[in-house]
Symmetry: D2
């Protein structure tokens, strides 16, 4: 349920979690296109809480609403939906990374083209965006946003191809990295997934109207039928007369991001034919097999650790109990304590359920360990509540490498597992024992015998350092030559 | 975890739940009085989401902030706390009942008295408030709020006693019903609980500063020590020199509201020496003993049914699984679907976890059944997800009577169990079987052998119709004679 | 046009002007009662810019909207008017005095009475309000506002009379000071003016619906007919069957506030049969007769000095020119300059029209001199623009005494004419010559031969120190014994 | 004072006035650059009330704040100024034309250039912007705004020149129409005026820091020295080492817009060596010479008609009186009357000063006549107030042609003088007589003997139809071929 844990803590400045950057949704040929898009985005809200936007096309012009805030903050009124007329719509939810929470970055992005127009939504990260952006500026392009996503829009606008689909393919073949793109033109709904299928994208149908969405839960909320996943490297073009497929990169084995299973996707979504919830429970089962100790109770860190803890409990026979209670009101606002109060160790989000903890040997289950700052506090809270032993278990391997494909990980030096060895981590966290799920255990929970090191089944560089694409921007030192940017200061 | 479920759905207009009307908090003699009160109210947020207010006394004047919205919306900034200077503070969170969401009703209420002043916070409901209000108006009192709580303030102001504690006791001895009151004067923090102790109130201590709060979780969040519960019928007067107790009603057996265990209190709170979480899990265990059927999986309606489902699973050995996923973003805003979309059966708050449900015989556990409107939808959602059987189990007896002590129950005609017999309810809900925990099972979960019908241990009229106090206002037809009121329309 | 000058500078913290505290309006028996009240208040906006409120009675209940801000900010939408249903309405605009800008003080004030209710609007100031308030609190009344106006409402509620008109008269006969009151009950619209008629109140009619308003301009805006002024000491009771008059204080000579002519009323209003604009122009004419000097141009301080400057020009034959241009955008917000910029002498509100000023001997006309802080800057600005001489002329006598009847004057020590003699003032202001209109000149401009010192025709204590009523609160030292108050801090 | 009249009615939907589209300001080399720019924009507020923006450069990056609303709404706090760090700043105020009130159009516009960047502010209108915009889109440019001003920015970005000044000149030489441009780069402040100098731009100095502004009043407010006007067709480049001038179009006679004198500029501004106030007063004098009739009083339509009315009164000897009072509160909000109230003829903005009007023969002076809708109401109001005769006089010739250079005139069919002859206009307006200032009278008021029809001294096509530049966009039918646009709907 890690997807859910994000939901209520979008602006915690000391967040000790991973963040995905976006969710995308599109539909063509339905008279409630904008309302269905709002609902789809609501189901994808866990993928981004900074901003939300929808663009429709009403056969005359494109119509846009883009706002900072949650989907429900701005797209909940019938009158809003009535302004967003048209049978086609695309929408986007966005996660906030520091300093870029500005309206000009809110997607969908739009370009007027000769005789047409295109609105684009992007989930992922282009690893050569800065490099191409510099070239574009050299050639006279004006980039209004600071988002890497705008680069692909500029390439579409500048393509010398004539048909919109050819322009779109022309543009994406210049890009490196991870992406799920959904685009709306006057006549088409287009979807694309990067050559390795790192970021997810599924195809659905509602009474004949094709739908593209980041996860199946966005289909479920509106009662749409799941058709299939968009394949890695596939460009899907939906028109009223049907769906066409293009493979501009040729076919190759997929390598989707394993963190969608571990953390990002909603537990009721299905990816690659696997129930996300079941995978997480299996991770708990394998974790129990690998690192069970003698104990009294299995306690999840809510909500993220719950499915793994259920699996751990089922496998080990140790009772599952809610030993930590979560306050779901800790959301967009929180109380700034004075210094004196800070020393009281106030826990706004979690509180220990003493009746469960006191005098017990506790197995504490969380889904992953990033910087460790929250884990320290939680272990201490469990001890303060009277636990006699605290055994900390993580349902994935140690995160040792940063991500560049759309997951907001700290710089490497902030990753606890990059800094410390196992014993140092245990001491830092303050647990009696500390164990992570092994990399092969992780793959086993996915249904494999283990990781295929020749041809790894997933993108898993955060654990292994095995980055599956070039990292062009990282190789060049763009800071050195970059032009002055415009910063919106208020 | 029912306390939590309320948290994220404060404004759902079709709510099929019970609502409590308030949480109270007070502290005396701490230099961070207002910030500690804000934190305490944050921990009590599940008891009321409409409005929050704090009044402090800074040895010169009383200082107030009262706002519509959550605690975190208005009491999260250091600068707010700095405006609320003073070593004593009382605070209140309030639940919204239709038509009365106005600023003038937000507590604490305040009266300037000759040479002093008093701020009062009230959780509960006076069952003779209208009767006394009419008398007060006849005598020239001006009631600014439409809240029943103001009556006790007017009585304090009009008391002919000289000492503030005598005035306070003079006032409450005229009131009937259920109440936990916390009051701040220039020199004292006063707490009072109704003669039967229907509404909860606990006494705590933080480094010598006495604290009064609705639940122990408000002590835990600031690291305060739990001293004891305020007794039924007790008036507690805290001053810098110590705590005094008065029993103006004499001593009698307590009869606290059983719904605090079933629904209202946070699972990590302790009432009457019992862990709320443990009681709920025990209800699940007894429910399993009473009504187990052959099945594959135990699924809670989240978040309210979780502890009972854990107990049910532990007792029955049927696996506990998260078969329903909750979207915690459904909060203060929600998307108004068009009529066409409404027919799609969109579920904004809950979605079925198909991987768990499909092809399974499901035991569905919820904490209580009020109007049944939500239960119908959830059972249907489980069937749509492929369950072969759905057995609905409620962790408390049928609710057949309205409450008049501060719980916002529908009128009797809207209570499903007041309208229908068991089989009619089962058909309405659409379950294969339907069972409630028995009244004796409920008392057994509380640690008794059963209900003592001579001297019932708890206030349980919602199940039994056994109201423990007079209902004066109900007996008189106040609507008939009432004066025109002032309605704030914007 | 001084009434107008206030309009665009309601929140200037360094205001060097006088302020009135309120405007009142009421209407009975018109189906657009609330919208007409909003329009009437808009015409009276110059009398108070802090807050505005309207209460209607719709034969079932009283309906209220009270907001901080201008009339147009909150009462401009048709939907607002539709919420304020009913054929009777009263409304109020209020001026902000420091520290009391709180919602609980916004009028109309309301009291539910046995079998009825009353909403009251007050312009003026009771000079014994604190004294009575203390007695009320001693008797158990709860005062919700900090406004002196609430006292009269409490007295109405506590009156032992049975009929509402008798209660109202019972209450006002206990009050001292200046007031124009407009009240709405379930069946009546009531108006009252203090025994000396210090504050203004007029009676009008719109197609048979009686209207009460502070000034005639509020009748003009809705095309209503002016009937007559409410007399000093008169209580007017309007019902559908006609208008009745009561004189609870007996009859005595009126003594209206002369500042309504000099400053407060709108120039197009008519008071006591005199056009306010004409009176102001006559003041300018008499000022010219008293203090003409050799010069080139007559320049008003806009907008307040314009009518007097026109009169001065007409009498003297010296050309009237707009030598100072006013920026009407200086309103509710203004730019905080940094210290460095402050030294540039930035003038946000006024700028010199150099083409008119340069090389000229300028007569500068303003309506009155309060603290002098603005006058210093304006004289300097005129000099900087190249004037060879600056002769400052004020169209009223020196203000030497504070007001206690509803005009917000500075404490006496801040009044320039209370601190300095004529030559000291001239030096402070920096003018070549300085003259004020004489007190007899002022009375001559009103059509008299001069002030009748035996029976002065107007309330003119600001010039003469001749206060026409007891100042009870001032005589007692209320600060010493006052109880702690409640201060809304956010 | 027509400039002022705009100030308080920015959103009147039935406006019967002309509107200019912008004011510009720039400064280089002053440590309070942003605050001085805010003050300058405040002085230019009459030129645009929709939106305001400032961009600074702080030697590292450009910093922007752009908001809908008045300057004082968003640029009044010291903290805002502190965020806008840097020694160079440019700013813009913008007038709202229907449907385009969106944030993306708020200037300054910005383009990141290779190794640099440029922020541009534009007052005026390019008459070939649509034509060039289509070419740009064909070439792959993405236009984010719907503003014609963005075209020049795109041309700068795409110029093949290397130096920023050469790029800027390259861009403007492709544009037709009217413009005053102010641009900020990392090292320079650049100003440019169209070849005919249609739109105004002046050069000033504050302690060595060069300033560019639309009018001299923006220099006066900060105490800056007026240096000279930027010449027609001149590009001024300011750097810390001095000011350079370029004349890319060669030199030719100037032909500034005559409406700056009649209507737009503030009365205290000086253009072409003429005081705007004096010119307007002279128009009144010449109007009196041309069309005096026997009458009792000269009444201006405030505030726009005041200077001409003063001149008319001085020339004719007929007394000047404020016969119409203006309510300056009619600003951003106004009360929507119900239909019934609408028929009452409510005047929110103007009211007749009956004491001046009744029984009088009135000469009514306004600055110009556009659609005539307001004039009809004002004449009727004067008659209702008891005038025996109403003679309407306009201080400029009949407006018969639309503008395409930055003045928002109605389409030609809505211009009263384009539809009707003189007698028809008189009847429509309802005046006893109607006269306009002659075109030669207008030029005489400017100091000439009359209009030089061979080489007209001013741009005066609204009166004469003599457009001084090509109107390329108008010649082509762009609607026919335009691409779908993006419309921000919320």
């Amino acid at each position: 349920m890690h997807g859910e844990i994000d939901l209520s803590e979008p602006f915690d400045p000391d967040a000790d979690t991973l963040r995905e950057e976006c969710g995308v949704f599109g539909i063509l040929g339905h008279e409630d296109a904008s309302a269905l898009t709002a609902l789809g985005l609501h189901a994808l809200q866990h993928r981004g809480q900074e901003a939300a936007g929808i663009v429709t096309f009403d056969n005359d012009q494109f119509r846009a609403e883009r706002h900072l805030g949650l989907v429900g903050d701005h797209f909940s009124k019938a009158e809003t939906m009535e302004r967003l007329t048209g049978m086609g719509a695309v929408g986007h939810v966005r996660y906030s990374t520091t300093g870029e929470t500005i309206l000009r970055n809110v997607q969908p992005l739009f370009a007027e083209l000769e005789g047409g127009g295109i609105a684009i939504c992007h989930n992922g990260n282009f690893t050569n965006a800065l490099t191409i952006r510099q070239q574009l500026i050299r050639d006279g392009a004006i980039c209004q946003s600071t988002s890497d996503s705008e680069v692909v829009l500029q390439l579409v606008a500048r393509s010398r191809e004539h048909k919109i689909v050819d322009r779109f393919i022309d543009a994406i073949t210049k890009m490196e990295g991870a992406y799920a793109l959904v685009a709306l033109t006057a006549k088409k709904l287009i979807g694309a997934r990067d050559p390795l299928g790192i970021r997810p994208l599924v195809l659905g149908d509602l009474n004949g109207a094709p739908i593209l969405a980041s996860e199946t839960c966005a289909l479920d909320i509106i009662g749409a039928t799941f058709i299939r996943e968009v394949e890695n490297g596939e460009v899907v073009v939906c028109t009223p007369s049907g769906i066409e497929s293009y493979f501009p990169f040729g076919k190759q084995p997929a390598r989707p991001c394993i963190f969608e299973y571990i953390y990002f996707s909603r537990p009721d979504s299905v990816i690659g034919g696997r129930s996300v919830y079941n995978v997480r429970r299996e991770m708990g089962r394998h974790l129990a097999r690998e690192s069970i100790v003698d104990c009294d109770v299995v306690v999840p860190v809510p909500d993220s650790g719950v499915p793994a803890a259920i699996g751990f409990s089922q496998e080990s026979g140790v009772p599952f109990e809610l030993g930590i209670i979560r306050n779901h009101y800790v959301g967009r606002t929180f109380i700034e304590p004075t210094q004196q109060i800070r020393t009281l160790g106030v826990k706004l989000k979690h509180s220990a359920n003493k009746a469960i903890i006191q005098g017990k040997r506790v197995i504490l289950i969380d889904d992953s360990l990033v910087r460790g700052t929250t884990s320290v506090k939680i272990v201490q809270m469990i001890r303060d509540a009277g636990a006699t032993e605290v055994h900390f278990r993580l349902a994935c391997p140690p995160i040792r490498y940063s991500d560049y494909y759309g997951i907001d990980t700290p710089v490497r030096e902030k990753l606890l597992a990059a800094k410390y060895n196992m014993e140092e981590m245990r001491k830092y966290i303050g647990a009696d024992t500390l164990s992570f799920l092994s990399i092969d255990g992780l793959y086993r929970a996915m249904g494999f015998e283990g990781r295929d090191n020749e041809n790894p089944q997933f993108t898993d560089h955060c654990f292994t350092g095995d980055y599956p694409t070039p990292l062009t921007d990282l190789a060049e030192d763009h800071d050195f030559v970059r032009s002055p940017r415009l910063v919106e200061v208020g």
